[in-house]
């Protein structure tokens, strides 16, 4: 497996030249402790069985795959959706959170702190904390608190404390900053539950491992349903955890094309250059001196100027490609999947639909596996405003 593109990062936490551990000195021992705890847990069959058990009996794994006959016929492809939207709490985020909270408990931590953009990771964190009897605090940008009010209420209902972040662009980037500051101050008893394949080592690797269940299931399911592997695997990319999760099943399958779809206003790989923020070296939207630029996306979950380091690595190696789609294309795609298949996607996941809708002409007759990372219930109020009068 040494030739695998999916190998663990090196001893410094790098995938190629991306990743690392750029954190305040205060957090270095905590990151080292976490790395050791994760490696130990991941190799422990008891932990893995516990994780699988929660997945099966609580989250609803394995998630099914749905073939989209209507939209597939319209686009001229054979289209399959990996239904992470059907997980408990409505997105792939629960996969990572169950893993991290079980690890937090194993490490003897009583409190978790989380960042959230759209609120899906925050809701998943609050859910897992309720299940496992942990205290939970969630940092969320003030802009996102506004546009995802339903998720804020859900988190509170689940017993979590939600802190609205007023600094910077008041979105996901600033929620991560504030969660990191909280961690610096409370590192002794608090577990930092990062929501994506971002941050200092071991987070990008650990979160990818917790999300890899998506790709592993899908690999077997596609073989079973079609007798072959898909020609194209496509997923949206903000930080990139759902994409890394499904890519993990196919990275070492050279016949499968990997497509990560970024929002046009937050295309870290498409328009960024390597930089260092949130503990990692990866592609980053930044100005001419290195100040981090604000991402602008219709989707709170993708409103992030950076991207997981493993995506920068896969892009540099030419293994995955990272096109972007506009907010307008996303709105159309949101409607398209709803109308043709009776599935309302999360705005994040609608980015993948938008790419396929735009590019299907170039892949006629091919088999496409799309990760439907979340359901769109949380976005319905926002879409009512946007589509008002157009339905």
């Amino acid at each position: 497996m040494t030739d695998s593109l999916l190998a663990p990062p090196d001893a410094t936490g790098r995938f190629g030249e991306f990743g690392g551990r750029f954190v305040p000195e205060t957090l270095v021992p905590a990151c080292q402790e976490l790395e050791a705890a994760f490696v130990d847990a991941w190799a422990d069959p008891v932990f893995r069985e516990e994780l699988d058990d929660v997945h099966r009996r609580y989250s609803g794994r394995p998630s099914i795959i749905t073939e989209c006959h209507n939209l597939g016929a319209r686009l001229g492809v054979r289209l399959f959706l990996k239904r992470e939207d059907l997980n408990h709490t409505g997105s792939h985020k629960i996969n990572n959170v169950i893993g991290q909270t079980l690890l937090a408990k194993r490490m003897g931590k009583q409190r978790i702190v989380a960042d959230t953009g759209a609120g899906q990771h925050g809701v998943a964190s609050a859910t897992a904390a309720a299940l496992l009897g942990l205290d939970c605090k969630v940092y969320m940008g003030a802009v996102d608190v506004e546009r995802q009010a339903l998720n804020v209420f859900r988190m509170k209902l689940l017993g979590a404390e939600v802190e609205s972040v007023e600094s910077g662009s008041r979105t996901l980037k600033d929620a991560v900053n504030e969660a990191m500051r909280h961690w610096v101050a409370n590192v002794a008893d608090t577990y930092f539950c990062l929501g994506s394949v971002v941050g200092p080592h071991p987070y990008p690797y650990m979160v990818r491992q917790f999300q890899a269940v998506i790709g592993e299931e899908a690999h077997a399911q596609m073989r079973g349903m079609t007798g072959a592997l898909p020609d194209v695997v496509v997923a949206c990319v903000g930080g990139g955890s759902n994409a890394m999760g499904i890519f993990a099943g196919f990275v070492d399958e050279p016949g499968t094309r990997l497509v990560g779809v970024e929002p046009a206003g937050g295309a870290a790989i498409g328009h960024g250059v390597p930089g260092v923020v949130h503990g990692m070296r990866s592609n980053l939207l930044q100005d001419e001196v290195g100040q981090v630029e604000e991402a602008v996306s219709i989707s709170a979950g993708l409103d992030y100027p950076g991207v997981g380091p493993e995506h920068s690595y896969l892009a540099q190696r030419g293994r995955a490609e990272y096109p972007s789609v506009t907010d307008d294309e996303v709105v159309e795609a949101f409607r398209l999947l709803s109308e043709t298949e009776g599935i309302i996607p999360a705005l994040e996941s609608a980015h993948a639909v938008a790419w396929l809708s735009r590019e299907a002409h170039g892949i006629q007759g091919q088999t496409v596996l799309m990760n439907l990372s979340g359901r769109g219930d949380k976005d319905v109020a926002q879409m009512m405003d946007i589509l008002n009068g157009r339905l």
Binding site: R21, P24, A30
Partner: protein, 256 residues
């Protein structure tokens, strides 16, 4: 100008405690604030180059950084002003690693050297990641001040002390910059642990919030860094208030 560490060792060995105020570069009248520090007993000044995402900073320094950035502050503009400050004490810069990484460590180090900066503090660049920067800084004779935190196990402190140039920044508490009602016990604990393993100057920063706390910290440490308490005065009342405050802290730490 002689190096920061040489100057600090000489001062310490002469029996005087070290005082390093922090000023956010690019904030209105920051140059006068640096001069006020120098005129009122500072041994060096730490000039912050504002970054968009300052994870080690609390609300006061975040707000000052934000104001400076809104006003168009850039690393180049701030460094361009440094030779015109016309102060006799060594100057250090504090910034976050992306502003070094973007131009590249060698170019950034050369820019500091050209401006007459003696030392640099990069709070999000821990020991394990510091290699490329330290090589460039050493070559440009920029002293890299390393941070040590209360969370460090004993085995880690000598590694940090070995790599530190200028002085060792002993982080006073678990948390980000900002004023606290009292000096945390961790401040003197860590300073004591460091003093036991190194003869490099040890200064306590983060959470040293007034003259009394500065006095308490310097009973163990060689000196203090004063950040949020200085910047708050700059924001509320301007450079003269900064000078008055630095003089007050100076008098406190000079007391027997």
């Amino acid at each position: 100008m002689a190096g920061l560490e040489a100057a600090f060792r000489a001062t310490r060995d002469a029996g005087r405690k070290l005082l390093v105020p922090y000023i956010t570069g690019g904030y209105p009248r920051w140059q006068d604030a640096v001069r006020a520090c120098a005129a009122n007993g500072a041994d060096a000044v730490e000039i912050g180059i504002p970054f968009s995402d300052p994870v080690m900073d609390g609300p006061v320094i975040q707000a000052a950084s934000h104001t400076a950035l809104e006003g168009g502050a850039t690393p180049a503009k701030i460094l361009h002003e440094v030779p015109h400050l016309d102060v006799e004490i060594p100057l250090a810069v504090m910034t976050y690693y992306n502003l070094v990484h973007h131009p590249g460590p060698q170019r950034f180090a050369a820019n500091l050297q050209r401006a007459g900066i003696a030392a640099a503090i990069l709070p999000d660049l821990p020991l394990e990641e510091s290699g490329p920067w330290c090589a460039a800084a050493d070559a440009a004779e920029i002293e890299t001040i390393m941070l040590a935190a209360p969370t460090a196990p004993d085995a880690r402190l000598p590694l940090i002390a070995d790599r530190a140039r200028g002085f060792i920044y002993s982080v006073g508490l678990l948390g980000v910059t900002g004023e606290r009602a009292s000096l945390a016990e961790t401040a003197t604990d860590l300073a004591g642990r460091l003093k036991a393993i190194t003869d490099k100057p040890v200064l306590v920063g983060v959470g040293v919030s007034d003259a009394v706390q500065a006095y308490q910290a310097t009973r163990v440490a060689d000196g203090v860094i004063q950040g949020a308490s200085v910047v708050r005065r700059l924001m509320e009342s301007g450079p003269d208030a900064v000078g008055d405050y630095v003089a007050e802290v100076r008098a406190a730490i000079d007391a027997d």
